[in-house]
């Protein structure tokens, strides 16, 4: 599969108007007010990269939410639970738009090459529907979304400019429901699961936890290596590494590992 450049477009016309009616808060944000004058060029490029990366990650999360939604329907999860999750892909698309526009506000997106067939890691197709859903939901929601909430909230508080504050505030508001969803699903699904199923979920969660920790080790190594001035970070809308890593470790314990272990999921990471 050929690599593609991560860029995005809007259809426009009535389609955009319908979309705007669904989520009017996006256009109400103070777009066009971010002045990068006086900020070091390297910091602005880093910020463009961070927001472009955030748009890509939100786009991947939208794919993940859609995949999980299909699995929820296939395993006939409770209808109200599926309905709750049906909002998530739209939430993520809104986040894609806001983060992409932040990158453009700072001077434009940076280069991300990706393969459209490999946006997420799907559950094995041979698994029974319930376990297929549980595999994805453990990785996407019980780990990824759950651990991201405190980090997003802290970054929101750190951001000084009204635009990134508005963007991050919106994301925080939406993600609150995403963060609890995984455990709501498990509380239903575990009623009919075997010990082997629980071990399968643990392996899936461990995979997600391992990927999160690997990302954080990378940040720690770059911090040790030095060479980048983090001081403009709060102006541009992100946390400094030390604060981030400290909160990340605590959040993984309280938001992910503890609730999984409390539900008898034998994670090993």
């Amino acid at each position: 599969m050929a690599a593609e450049l991560f860029e995005l477009e809007l259809y426009g016309d009535n389609v955009e108007r319908r979309y705007r009616r669904m989520r009017p808060e996006v256009e109400a944000m103070p777009w066009g007010t971010f002045d990068t004058t006086g900020l070091p060029e390297a910091a602005v490029i880093m910020a463009r990269k961070q927001w472009t990366s955030a748009a890509f990650q939100e786009h991947r999360t939208a794919v993940a939410c859609a995949a999980a939604l299909r699995a929820l329907m296939e395993c006939r999860a409770p209808l109200d639970l599926i309905a709750m999750a049906s909002r998530f892909p739209l939430d993520e698309l809104v986040h894609v738009e806001m983060t992409a526009r932040m990158a453009m506000e700072l001077g434009g997106g940076t280069e991300i090459q990706f393969e459209a067939d490999h946006m997420i890691v799907d559950a094995e197709p041979g698994l029974p529907p319930l376990l297929r859903a549980a595999d994805m939901i453990a990785r996407f929601f019980c780990v990824g979304e759950a651990v991201s909430i405190p980090l997003l909230r802290a970054t929101w508080h750190a951001a000084r400019h009204p635009l990134p504050r508005a963007v991050l505030g919106r994301i925080v508001k939406d993600e609150a429901a995403h963060g609890v969803f995984g455990f709501l699903f498990l509380d239903w699904a575990l009623e009919s699961m075997t010990e082997a199923d629980r071990r399968h979920i643990a392996v899936a969660a461990d995979r997600g936890i391992g990927a999160v920790r690997a990302l954080w080790r990378g940040i720690e190594q770059r911090r040790r290596d030095g060479g980048y001035d983090e001081s403009p970070g709060d102006a541009l809308g992100w946390l400094h590494s030390d604060a981030y890593l400290e909160l990340a470790a605590r959040s993984l314990e309280t938001q992910v590992r503890k609730p999984l272990l409390e539900r008898g999921i034998p994670i090993s990471r």
Partner: protein, 70 residues
């Protein structure tokens, strides 16, 4: 065909702080978790690698973790 007035939402500048997720598709093996590699000389270097014997694909991570210095 009806003409529409669509527009670009995100336009990337080639060569700036480049990151590749290509060849990360097999989410279970290989040296995958040096989080996204920088190809651009004009951004802070991304040199991190998972130093343990375990390896994880960047695709195993589903979340916008807004990490500093990714």
């Amino acid at each position: 065909m009806r003409k529409r007035t669509g527009r670009k939402l995100l336009v990337a500048t080639l060569g700036v702080a480049a990151v590749s997720y290509v060849a990360c598709g097999d989410g279970a093996v290989a040296n995958l978790m040096a989080p996204p590699q920088d190809a651009g000389a004009d951004s802070a270097a991304d040199t991190a690698a998972d130093t343990t014997t375990d390896t994880f694909s960047p695709l195993d991570l589903i979340a916008n973790l807004i990490a500093p210095q990714q």
